[in-house]
């Protein structure tokens, strides 16, 4: 495990292809032992960022330190600390699950006995024992992902990059993948996660950064991000029309246009605002039947932060 406080640190990271600027001065700080999620629409530069952080691609400018090492000057030191699971499962189709794991163990020079013991353990951990002797070509999407992640764990990386690890998985496989990721972090590993599923980032990530047009447009915890977009409101339901009208008068909000007995009170989602609403209802002696606080979810945040007229179909990553 790295003793460095930040598993990833970038300052002014820049990359362009010809005239097209893909990363335009990105500053990232990922504390060791946490899950950090990078979100962004297609073409935002997520995969380019991952490729630079994992030594696959050279940055045009900026400082990039991964596991305490400069990626440009000490790529081998970086490679010793990291492991990568890309968008497409990086398994050898012609080899069995067992052989795939041994291949990676041999490349890490683990030694025969240690490699076999680890492969056996990983097959059990990832529920692949029955498929151990089957060629990866015959695996289902979920099995390939699991084998891919199992291969990624060989060598005991302190920092794991997961580039859309659950794309194309059914809900059960996704939840089991999430549990695996949580277990890894509990063991001290740092996870850098890119995902299309905002629910996944919400569920897993300690911190989230939103990348759009090559720039970070927001960074923080899921809750911090949600508070940045308008859209929080308190929803009140009343027993009858009289209470509804009294409530609307007390709170100075318009009556609903439909027959519903509910009022929507715009609000910042904080406790103080909630108390004010309840106090006003009390002062007017109006009783509400039910109260719910609606806060925006990450989808709202994402759409608000990465607003654009149209997202081109099939845009490049």
């Amino acid at each position: 495990m790295s003793t460095h406080p930040f598993a990833i640190e970038t300052t002014g990271l820049r990359k362009s292809y010809g005239d097209k600027v893909v990363l335009d001065g990105v500053d990232l700080r990922v504390p060791a032992g946490t899950i950090f999620s990078l979100l962004g629409p297609n073409g935002a530069g997520k995969t380019t960022a991952v490729n630079i952080l994992t030594t696959l691609l050279r940055a045009d400018g900026g400082e990039v330190r991964v596991a305490g090492h400069d990626v440009a000057r000490e790529p081998d030191a970086v490679r010793k600390a990291i492991s990568v699971t890309g968008q497409f499962a990086a398994v050898d189709n012609l080899l069995t699950g067992w052989e795939n794991l041994l291949l990676v163990a041999d490349l890490h020079r683990l030694g025969k006995r240690e490699g076999r013991a680890l492969a056996t353990r990983l097959l059990e951990q990832f529920d692949l024992v029955d498929a151990a002797k089957v060629k990866a070509l015959a695996y289902s999407g979920g099995m390939r992902r699991r084998l891919d992640l199992a291969m990624t764990l060989v060598g005991g990386p302190s920092l794991i990059f997961l580039d859309e690890p659950t794309t194309g998985l059914d809900p059960r496989s996704r939840h089991s993948m999430w549990q695996i990721i949580r277990d890894l972090v509990a063991g001290g590993t740092t996870i850098f996660l890119t995902t299309q599923y905002l629910e996944e980032a919400d569920e897993l990530a300690d911190r989230i950064a939103v990348l759009d047009g090559g720039k970070l447009v927001a960074e923080g915890t899921a809750d911090e991000l949600k508070q940045r977009v308008p859209g929080s409101y308190i929803r009140l339901r009343f027993a009858d029309g009289q209470a509804l009208r009294a409530g609307a008068a007390a709170l100075a909000v318009p009556l609903p246009e439909t027959e519903e007995l509910t009022l929507k009170v715009p609000n910042d989602g904080g406790v103080r605002a909630l108390r004010t609403v309840l106090d006003r209802l009390d002062d007017a002696s109006v009783e509400a039947e039910e109260l719910t606080v609606h806060t925006p979810d990450l989808d709202d945040v994402f759409l608000a932060l990465t607003d654009r007229k149209t997202v081109p179909q099939g845009a490049t990553r």
Binding site: L56, R79, V84, L103, H108, D148
Partner: protein, 258 residues
């Protein structure tokens, strides 16, 4: 851990992977083997009567002339499988796994090259066996046999590097399969099937100055005792040249950006 020890260990692992691919996907070996064998049967039993008419022993005389050529063609066809497997590695996700691991960067290429040469030489031995069964009677001494296998290995090494380079630069496995076509067709315009002095002007010039003619003349000379002259030297120069150029080309293709 020294860099050499790391490189040797990683290369051995990659070689094992390459050989396992050959076992798992025997079609690769068969397709490289089938074409030379079919051509051998075709040339000897269908065209051999006509082509061998001017030769001392007729059809069997032509078999002796063409068997060494078919062995050479086997080396050319052996590269097909290599180009495709390298291209599959480069275009599917696994290359990025290897590139982000703390392993010797050359090991993947070395594994493919040694694996490819070994696969090709197995095919060569099988085609030689078929030719011998058909009645091919080489006059080679044990030393000449060793020299023959040496020349063929040298050619296999050069062409495997070339096919690795083509595979590493191709955009898709299908593209890699097309890119190697010239390697498989060029031997047809050489002294492999008929002596070059029977060809018209320009073609004869191409046939005489292309790399496969000196190689085939050397192999034929060693096996059936026809004159070699300076063919062996020219063949060696060609092989070394192709190897060196292909080595740098393959390395550049392998190191291109993700």
């Amino acid at each position: 851990m020294s860099a050499l020890a790391l490189s040797t260990s990683n290369s051995a692992t990659m070689l094992r992977r390459s050989l396992l691919h050959g076992v798992r996907y025997p079609l690769m070996l068969v397709s490289g083997l089938l074409t030379p064998v079919i051509l051998l049967l075709l040339f000897v039993y269908i065209l051999g009567g006509a082509l061998g008419a001017t030769m001392p022993d007729g059809r069997m005389g032509y078999l002796n002339y063409i068997a060494p050529s078919m062995v050479l063609l086997t080396v050319c066809y052996g590269g097909g499988a290599t180009a495709v497997t390298v291209s599959v590695d480069m275009t599917e996700g696994i290359i990025n796994r290897f590139r982000t691991m703390p392993i010797s960067r050359a090991s993947l290429l070395i594994g493919h090259v040694i694996g490819g040469v070994l696969r090709t030489m197995v095919s060569v031995l099988l085609v030689l066996a078929v030719a011998l069964l058909m009645g091919f009677r080489p006059s080679a001494t044990p030393v000449e046999w060793v020299a023959t296998l040496g020349v063929l290995t040298m050619l296999a090494f050069a062409l495997t590097w070339l096919t690795v380079a083509l595979g590493a630069s191709a955009k898709s496995p299908a593209g890699a399969n097309t890119a190697i076509l010239p390697i498989q067709l060029l031997p047809l315009v050489s002294s492999a099937f008929v002596p070059t002095d029977s060809m018209p002007g320009v073609i004869r010039w191409i046939a005489e100055y292309q790399p496969f003619t000196p190689v085939i003349d050397t192999v034929r000379g060693l096996l059936i005792g026809s004159p070699i002259g300076n063919s062996a030297l020219i063949a060696a120069i060609w092989c070394v040249g192709i190897t060196v150029v292909s080595f740098f080309w393959a390395r550049a293709g392998f190191n291109r950006d993700a």
